[in-house]
């Protein structure tokens, strides 16, 4: 199974990396892994359920601000702060998921965008709590429960992020392979058929969106703990656009693809902007090249080389699924 092979390969490398890589690259690496986790969370929706979201930055922002508020106001240990940020994000995600899944295709995408922009507006409305346009700065990393402090340093925090990423990946893999995951692939292939088999597809979609927001919130909380601040820019729609690109460039519907898409994205943007300040030009052309010549994304190319792809034509018989656009 190429997923397990990839996992076995990357695990040891991931663990040894901090001692090999120079200090400053570790900063970029930590942020790249966080974005990888964030992209994987969106892949649950886009890759496994064909629910395109233009507002996934809401999950990231909610996670970051929840962690920021918990850590600054309640002075709880960092691990608990990040841990609590996930249920906080999920609590907000449930009504969002309930409303958004009422519609499909582009309307669904626009509803998620609306909630993200509403979140952005609320940050300015309740500025005494959220700090308005500057957001919340100076988020501490208080020592963890039972006096744990290993994660306070940079290398320690790297392992915290790596652990969360691997843990989330394994959990998502289990979810995708479970009976629940099988129904998701049914919804992706032909939702009308799945309903007529007796599945309440709306409930499954709500659960998928909430799960995606949960993992996205974890990524946001990890970022807030790492960068030490949470600002309105995290809610901005450009973040949603970027993470969607990571999923598509990485290879949707594979979990590993978006992680690689995220890491690739952050590194290319970071390195390119060193070399030339025309980096957006090169950046944009990379996307266009990917769409034109490598639609299945990085992971698609990699796996295609290793094993014969299952005989699956991209467009098939049966009625066109409902949303061709998004």
């Amino acid at each position: 199974m190429s997923g397990k092979v990839a996992f076995a390969l990357t695990a040891p490398v991931g663990v040894l990396l901090p001692f090999v890589v120079p200090q400053y690259s570790l900063t970029v690496l930590i942020e790249a892994l966080i974005f990888g986790l964030f992209a994987m969370s969106l892949d649950l929706m886009v890759g496994y359920c064909r629910l395109y979201s233009f507002g996934h930055s809401a999950a990231y922002g909610l996670g970051a601000y929840s962690a920021a508020l918990i850590l600054t106001h309640l002075q709880l240990p960092l691990l608990i702060g990040i841990g609590l940020a996930v249920p906080a994000t999920i609590a907000v995600a449930i009504p969002i998921a309930w409303i958004c899944t009422r519609s499909t295709g582009v309307s669904f995408a626009m509803l998620t965008l609306a909630f993200a922009q509403l979140g952005y507006a609320m940050l300015f409305r309740f500025r005494d709590i959220t700090g308005g346009s500057d957001g919340i700065v100076g988020i501490p990393r208080p020592p963890g429960p039972f006096g744990m402090t290993w994660f306070q340093g940079k290398i320690g925090y790297y392992y915290l992020v790596l652990g969360c990423l691997f843990g989330s990946y394994l959990l998502c893999r289990a979810i995708v392979r479970s009976p629940f995951g099988a129904v998701l692939s049914g919804i992706r292939e032909n939702e009308r058929k799945t309903v007529s088999l007796g599945y309440n597809t709306r409930a499954y979609k709500i659960a998928t969106v909430v799960l995606a927001y949960g993992f996205g919130g974890l990524a946001g909380a990890l970022y807030a703990g790492f960068a030490g601040f949470a600002s309105p820019e995290l809610f901005f729609w450009l973040v949603s656009g970027r993470v969607l690109i990571m999923v598509v460039v990485g290879g949707a519907g594979t979990l590993i693809g978006p992680i690689i898409g995220g890491v690739f994205f952050v590194f290319v943007e970071h390195e390119l902007s060193q070399v030339t300040d025309l980096w957006p030009l090169v950046f944009g052309s990379i996307f266009i090249a990917f769409v034109m010549f490598a639609p299945e994304g990085i992971w698609g190319i990699v796996t295609a080389r290793f094993k014969q792809k299952p005989i699956v034509p991209s467009s098939a018989g049966g009625e066109e699924t409902s949303d061709a656009a998004a």
């Binding site: 490398v13 990396l17 090999v20 890589v21 120079p22 200090q23 400053y24 690259s25 900063t27 970029v28 690496l29 942020e31 507006a121 300015f124 500025r127 700090g131 308005g132 346009s133 500057d134 957001g135 700065v137 100076g138 988020i139 970022y223 960068a227 030490g228 601040f229 600002s231 309105p232 820019e233 995290l234 590194f267 970071h270 390195e271 902007s273 060193q274 300040d277 980096w279 957006p280």
Partner: protein
């Protein structure tokens, strides 16, 4: 792994680049670089909405480097500016600063444009063992609630701009005022300071308006100003917002009904508004025509280096911040961060805006308050801001660690 292999390739690349620069550098400089260069990190906006202010920061740094090289460097070492593109986004800014500190070994940072970027950097200075001198960030909280010992602000803060205006308006004919600001943090602190000051001088503030950040259509706010019956209107908007507001206001003929007082008079706005800008009043972060030797020298050097370009407020304040930084490095005899901090406290430097005192208690630079009015001036291609009134720095700078003025 991909990362490690690229890192080694890049270190080789930089070695080659450095060698070639060495060859190209003028002869006398070569033996000066025997000593390591003083590296200053410039995390500014190169791409994105604030790119104009970023380009002004970079052009002034290049000018200062040229002038410093000509004088044989600073304490016998050449100055090297390292530029990074923050795109005006706090997340990117923090990442790029971390890289400036760890990879490029710059422990002195300046040239940050957006106040949310500056706020995000402050708590990190300790971890980076770096110091950060603000050249133009206006948010009052940076030297108040958010203050950290490794931060200095050489420039006039937003509350100081509002203060100068209020002092001027004490005996101005207008009685009723209305204040309009961007909903960003610095906009909020300008409005708050203006309200506090204008009421102290016996005028009344009819209303406070906050336009969303990057707002496009100002017609509702213009109608609100017209309805309010105010005679004077205080404006705290940045670049794009200010230009949009003034263009739309002139179409309403608002300038004929209400006298504008803006918190920053920007040459970029004047250039865009052309003749509509004439008569615009406000406090200035850089008085172009301030007749003191340091400013005349800077203006001549700038306008000869950059033909048909008039130095804007970012250029003036960037130059001043660098002069203060260089003075502190000379006094400390080394660019080591904590030594520079000690040297800069209570340091007095006379630059383009006259004598500046870097107060020990909150590291806020005491700047004089300049009130200006835009007028046609035949010495310059575009209309420019003429000085109307100057207020002493003690009167113009808020109390320690706060944005209010007890004096």
């Amino acid at each position: 792994m991909m990362v490690r292999e690229r890192a080694t390739r890049r270190t080789i690349l930089r070695g080659v680049a450095a060698a070639s620069a060495l060859v190209a550098a003028p002869a006398y400089l070569r033996h000066a670089t025997a000593a390591t260069p003083i590296k200053i990190g410039i995390p500014t906006v190169i791409t994105g909405g604030y790119a104009l202010l970023g380009s002004q920061v970079i052009r002034t740094c290049k000018l200062v480097k040229k002038l410093t090289d000509a004088k044989g460097g600073l304490i016998g070492q050449p100055v090297e500016f390292v530029y990074q593109d923050t795109q005006g986004d706090p997340a990117t800014c923090v990442r790029k600063c971390q890289e400036l500190v760890e990879r490029d070994n710059c422990h002195i940072l300046t040239g940050v444009i957006v106040s949310s970027e500056a706020a995000a950097m402050l708590p990190k200075l300790e971890e980076w063992n770096a110091i950060f001198i603000s050249h133009g960030n206006g948010d009052g909280r940076l030297t108040a609630e958010l203050f950290v010992p490794r931060f200095f602000r050489a420039n006039t803060s937003a509350p100081m701009g509002a203060r100068a205006l209020a002092l001027y308006l004490k005996d101005a004919p207008e009685k009723k005022f209305i204040a309009m600001a961007s909903d960003a943090a610095w906009g909020r602190s300008s409005n708050a300071a203006f309200e506090e000051q204008i009421k102290k001088v016996g005028k009344d503030l009819v209303d406070k308006i906050y336009a969303p950040v990057a707002n496009k259509d100002y017609s509702p706010y213009i109608t609100k100003i017209l309805q309010s019956g105010a005679q004077g209107c205080y404006i705290a908007l940045q670049g794009d917002e200010a230009r949009a507001f003034y263009s739309q206001a002139t179409q309403y003929g608002l300038a004929q009904r209400v006298q504008f007082f803006t918190e920053i008079v920007a040459q970029a706005d004047i250039k865009v508004l052309g003749k509509d800008a004439i008569g615009l009043m406000g406090s200035s972060r850089y008085p172009l025509t301030y007749d003191i030797p340091q400013n005349n020298a800077f203006r001549e050097a700038f306008m000869s280096e950059y033909q048909n370009e008039i130095p804007d407020w970012t250029d003036g304040e960037m130059y001043q911040a660098l002069m203060i930084l260089f003075a502190a490095i000379e006094k400390a005899g080394s660019p080591e961060p904590m030594k520079v901090v000690a040297a800069m406290e209570d340091l007095e430097v006379t630059s383009v805006k006259g004598p500046i005192l870097m107060r020990k208690c909150d590291h806020q630079g005491e700047n004089q308050g300049f009130i200006v009015k835009v007028a046609k001036n035949d010495k310059f291609a575009e209309p420019i801001a003429e000085i109307v009134k100057i207020y002493p720095r003690e009167l113009n700078t808020p109390d320690c660690r706060s944005s209010s003025f007890s004096k």
